[in-house]
Amino acid sequence: MKEGKSVKFNLQPQNGRISPFKISKLLDPEASWDKDELGDVLHWIRQGVALVCGLLWGAVPFIGAIWIILFLLLSSGIIYGYYSIILKVDEEDFGGHGALLQEGLFASITVFLLVWILVYSLAHF
C-alpha cells in the first residue's frame, strides 16, 4: 500500500507570517504540498525540460516528427518520476496522475517547438 501525503490547506499563516517556499522542499519526500504549489513546481520543471530538449534537439540536430513524441514521453517520464519517486506524493490527493501529468504540458510543447525550430534554423542554415 502506497503511503500517501496529506494535503494541508493553510488558511492562517503560521506565527503571523507565511513561511517562504524553500528550495530544499523540492527534494524532500517528507514535505507536504499544497495543490497549487505542486502544480507550479511541475509546470516549471516541464518548461525547463522543454527548453533543454529544444536546445539539444536543435543543436544536434534531431529531425523528424518522431522527436516530438520522444520529447513528450521524456518530459512526462521525468515529471512522473519526480512526483512519484522523489517527492513520493499520493496522486489521489492531487487529482490523479492525469492532473499532475498535464500541468504545464501544452505550454511546454510550445516552448519545445519554438526553441527547437529557432536553434535548428539558426545553427544549421
Partner: protein, 165 residues
Amino acid sequence: MASVLSSFKYADSLAVLGISICTAFLCEGISWILIYRTSSYKSLRSSIDKASKKLEIMKTGDNKGGSNKKSKTKKIDRVETSLKESSRDLSLSKFKSGAVVALVLFVVFGLLNSLFEGKAVAKLPFSPAGFVQKMSHRGISGNDPTDCSMAFLSKDQLIWFSRRY
C-alpha cells in the same frame, strides 16, 4: 551585431521573436493597468481564494460524516453560490482588457504579416501534418513543407507567453 545577425539565413525568426516578446509584455502591461492593479480585482480575487479554500475544507469535513448534514449541505451551497458570483464578476472585469489585448494582437499580427509575407522566416525540423502545414506554410511559395511562415512562429510564441501561468 547587425552584421552577425544578417549572416544567419533565418535571422528574420529572431525579429519575429523579438516583436512577439514585446507584444506579450505590452499585453501584460495593458492587463495590469486595466485589471490587476484595481482594488475591485484584488478584493474579488481574495474572496474567491477564501471561498475556494473554505469550500474544500467543508467538503472534506462533510465526507467524514457527522451530524447536521442538512445544514452543512446548505452552507456548502451558499459558499458555492457566492463563489460562482465572484467568479462571474471577475470574468466580466477581465472582458474589457481582453478586448483591448485582442485589438493589439490584431494590429501586431497585421504588422508582422506586412513585414514577412511570402518569406520563410525559419526552417522546420519536421514535416508538419496537413492542417498544421496550412498555417506553417501560409503565404510561402514553393512546395517545401519545412519552410516556416511568420504566422506559425508568432502564434507559437504568443501562445506560450499567454499561457505561461
